[in-house]
Symmetry: C3
Subunit: 155 residues, 3 copies
């Protein structure tokens, strides 16, 4: 057996292992939001209720967390599906608060599947606020974000 070749094999195996091992960590460290290159905390806030109190709670939780972590160090997304999508309708009373959170880097996403269902039953597609990230299926998007390293919390 050639010792040097053996070392190379072992070293190669170690390198592969190290790459596999560090992958989940690396993934979380890659900026998911290009506007948040220094984020260390990745939080996905779920809103699937139409209840106005719940909508207020989600918005205030996001605001408090921006303050707690400092806006640059936290990547917060509020993802909506089911009755929760109404938060992002253009005529929602909370649009100023949504805009203020967006200005501080909070991302908002909306389930297209839910909007399709609303359109089918009401005959009209609701108008959304600007700069909302559309996703095909809300819960599938949640699974992707968790896979990217986000922690899901439903206030």
């Amino acid at each position: 057996m050639n010792a040097s070749l053996g070392f190379r094999k072992v070293a190669g195996a170690l390198m592969s292992l190290a790459i596999v091992l560090s992958a989940p960590g690396l993934r979380a460290e890659e900026p998911i939001n290009p506007d948040k290159p220094f984020a260390e905390t990745f939080l996905l806030l779920q809103l699937s209720d139409g209840d106005p109190e719940k909508q207020d709670l989600v918005l205030s939780v996001a605001g408090n967390l921006l303050e707690h972590y400092q806006p640059d160090l936290v990547d917060i997304e509020i993802t909506t599906f089911g009755p929760g999508v109404t938060l992002l309708f253009a005529d929602n009373d909370r649009r100023e608060r949504v805009a203020s959170l967006m200005a501080q880097g909070v991302r908002f996403s909306v389930c297209m599947n839910t909007l399709d269902t609303i359109e089918r039953s009401s005959g009209a597609r609701p108008e959304l606020l600007g700069d909302i990230l559309p996703v095909p299926v809300g819960v599938a998007h949640i699974l992707e974000r968790i896979d990217q390293g986000f922690v899901l919390v439903r206030p």
Copy 2:
């Protein structure tokens, strides 16, 4: 020192490491549901509300995800406890939708502890739909499923 023996030790250690490392991956790849041998996505939908709108939402989320991932590639379980167990009562209005999801491979589980509590307070044990997986304690079952590789989402 015998170089060849040394290599074997290092290689053996690497193998052990590789086995340890791959274990969580293997777990998720083992079919939890024998009817879903090709599932890559493992989703546990929690229903602990009695609210009819919430029950509709959980059922429609499951239906949309089956379509999004293709039924063979996703293993979806709807787990119920507390007021959520009423979804699986034999006289629930949504029994056709439950049956349709079951026919597409969605699993439904129910907390026996909750049924015991209902029986104690009402004097009668509610009759359930067929083919429901009984679990002793709903939240303990959730912890087991998460340990098996399922992601928990509460619509």
Copy 3:
């Protein structure tokens, strides 16, 4: 190349890897609650609703889990924020049940941020039950607990 030195380097790298790998496991095994040195299951129950039925559900879930796992083997924390903090007000009807769970080792935490908000809007700071763990921001505390190895469930 010196074969023996090479082995030491590889062995050293393997050791470092093993230490890195075992770290998350070690973390979960360190007793987070000194009163629960044998806990193997770490559960964080979230309460962010003011709804009395939801408060009852969270308390009964905690009670059932203590019985299911045996109190010594499970570390349960009920963490409250938003309207959920009312569970821990000194005048809450459920204070006996809270006290009983505490006596069995369940920990209760409350979001200071929510209490500040209530104080600002009502003019008075609500009085809390004794032995509650205060945390600055509820959802930030949840992220820390998840990082420590707790599983989050919101009944």
